[in-house]
Structures are given as C-alpha cells and as structure tokens.
C-alpha cells in the first residue's frame, strides 16, 4: 500500500465513491476502506440499503377497473 493511499483522507475517498461504486468495481476492496472503519461502515450501509430496496417492492395488481378505463379511452379515440 503506497503512502499516498494511506494518507488518502475520507473526504477524498467519499468524493470518488459514486464513480467507484458506479464503475462496478468492488469498493470494499479499496485500500482506504480496508484501513478506515468509518468509510467501511458508510459503504456497508449504502450496500445494505440497495440490497434491502431490491427486495422491498413486490409486484402488485393495478385497480380492477383500469382495463375498463383503457378500453373506454381506446374506444373514444377511435
């Protein structure tokens, strides 16, 4: 691990975080994350939120009368 990496401050790391996460790279493997509990916790929280959200919204049925409304609108536009 280089001195430069060691001295990387949290602000610098967090500024790079959107790009790092968005690139698909494993942000958890970043040297700063390995040495900084605070940023590791931040990263874990963000990942946990994304993970929980993925399971949050089951598909639901639309109201039953929606098809009638659509049919009516189609008929009116003809």
């Amino acid at each position: 691990m280089s001195e430069e990496t060691k001295s990387m401050r949290c602000a610098e790391f967090q500024a790079q975080l959107p790009e790092l996460i968005g690139s698909g790279a494993s942000a958890a493997e970043h040297p700063h994350v390995k040495e900084c509990n605070l940023c590791r916790e931040l990263l874990e929280s963000l990942e946990a939120i994304a993970e929980a959200a993925r399971q949050l919204f089951p598909e639901v049925e639309p109201p039953e009368n929606l098809w009638e409304n659509i049919e009516l609108a189609i008929k009116n536009k003809k």
């Binding site: 401050r9 949290c10 602000a11 967090q14 500024a15 975080l17 959107p18 790009e19 996460i21 968005g22 900084c36 509990n37 605070l38 940023c39 916790e41 931040l42 874990e44 929280s45 963000l46 946990a48 939120i49 994304a50 993970e51 929980a52 959200a53 993925r54 399971q55 949050l56 919204f57 089951p58 598909e59 639901v60 049925e61 639309p62 109201p63 929606l66 098809w67 409304n69 659509i70 049919e71 609108a73 189609i74 536009k77």
Partner: protein, 231 residues
C-alpha cells in the same frame, strides 16, 4: 416490527410477504440486469403479438393482462403514488395501443414496453418540472450533500437492521429525480449508461445522483450515533 426488518449484513431474508425472493441462504439477492429481465418477463407468443399488431382487440387485452402487474408496479415504484401510477399505467397502455404496430422485435417485447412505460413517466415528471429540478440539483451539490459530510460531524450509521417500512417511506420521500435513478438502478436493474440515455444526462450525473439518493436514504434511516471523529 420484527417481521418488517431485514439484516443489514449477511444472508438476505427470503420471507418478504407477498412474493418471497428466491435467494439462497447466505447469498445476496441477485441483481437482475435489464437484459436478464427479458428471460424472466412474461413471454409473449409471436402469434399473439401479430394479432395485436393487426388490431385484434382481444389480443391487445391479453397483452394487457400479461403485463399489467409489471407496468403498474414499475409506475408505482417510480412515482410513489398509486393514483398517479394508475394514470401512467393507463397512458402507457394507450401509447402501446397506438405504437404496437411499430414494434419490430429489435429487443424483447417486455423490454420495449418497459422502456415505453418509463418514458411515459419521465414525460409526466418533465411536464411537472420535477425531473429538471432534481437533475439540476444533482449537478451542484448543496452543503448538506457534499461528499465529505459523512464523517467528522455527527457520524451516525445504520443500526443492525433496516426497517423495511421506514425504507419504503424514505424512498417515497426522496425528491423525484433521486427516486427515479434509485428505482431504475437499484430496483429495476438498469445500468448508468441506460439511465443517462433515458434521462438525457451524463453517466457521471447518474452515478452521482444515485449516490446522493443512497446517502439521503441512509440519513433517513440511521439511528445510532457512533461518535467517531474525522480521520
């Protein structure tokens, strides 16, 4: 509240009421990419599609009943409001009725319809000015949203579990643009380049806005002060 919590780390819980996720113990729920969705979405027979394209109303009705759940749920996630989601679902299927003959099969039908519905919602948000405001905000972080705010101040982190009702509420409370990108990326599985294309913004903007959306959710959810200082 115990039943409405999911662990922050470790195994994903299978039991999520109406539709349990098919997740193996110890494995996170797989992220479904946009292309992968094609294979699990409702499969439309070519004959049914051809009949609908030729103006067969019964065939169109069948397509509606095959896809209504998915499209309504998508609109609901993006908008967070059942009445608006109903309106947008209706608008999406009316547009589908007008455009179905133009579908040439370059992508899976379900993907095409999904994008059509997203565009309908985006158009509505643009008309209301919600999308523009949020994207502009994303370009210029406020003091509250500056990247380094997560440390050296009141550092708070999530407790051991996420309350799913609180998370749902927090997602619904996100500004429209943040919610859109969060839903499109983290829930619907679109990549940043696809989102940037849909929202007519840069890929960097999409990444930045998603990050801010997650930070806002974390802020809304965090409960216990940790008291660690700046490194």
């Amino acid at each position: 509240m115990g039943q409405s919590r999911v662990p922050v780390k470790g195994p994903s819980r299978e039991a999520f009421e109406a539709e349990p996720a098919e997740v193996s113990a110890g494995q996170p729920a797989p992220r479904i990419s946009a292309p992968a969705r094609e294979s699990i979405a409702a499969i439309l027979s070519p004959e049914l599609l051809e009949r609908a394209q030729a103006g067969d109303h019964g065939a169109f009705a069948e397509i509606y009943f095959l896809h209504k759940r998915r499209i309504y749920s998508l609109c609901l996630r993006m908008l967070g409001n059942p009445a608006e989601a109903e309106d947008m679902t209706q608008e999406a299927f009316l547009q589908l009725h007008r455009k179905i003959a133009t579908f040439r099969g370059e992508s899976a039908f379900s993907t095409w319809l999904h994008r059509l519905a997203i565009n309908v919602v985006l158009m509505r948000l643009r008309k209301k000015g919600l999308l523009l405001i949020s994207l502009d905000e994303a370009m210029e972080p406020t003091t509250e949203e500056r990247p380094g705010r997560s440390f050296g101040e009141d550092d708070l982190s999530l407790a051991g579990a996420i309350d799913r009702l609180a998370l749902q509420r927090a997602i619904n409370d996100l500004p429209a643009g943040y919610r859109l990108i969060f839903v499109l990326h983290d829930i619907e599985g679109y990549e940043h380049n696809e989102i940037a294309d849909m929202l007519e913004c840069s890929i960097g903007n999409s990444k930045s806005q998603l990050h801010k959306a997650r930070l806002k959710l974390r802020d809304a959810l965090r409960v216990h002060p940790r008291g660690e200082g700046q490194r």
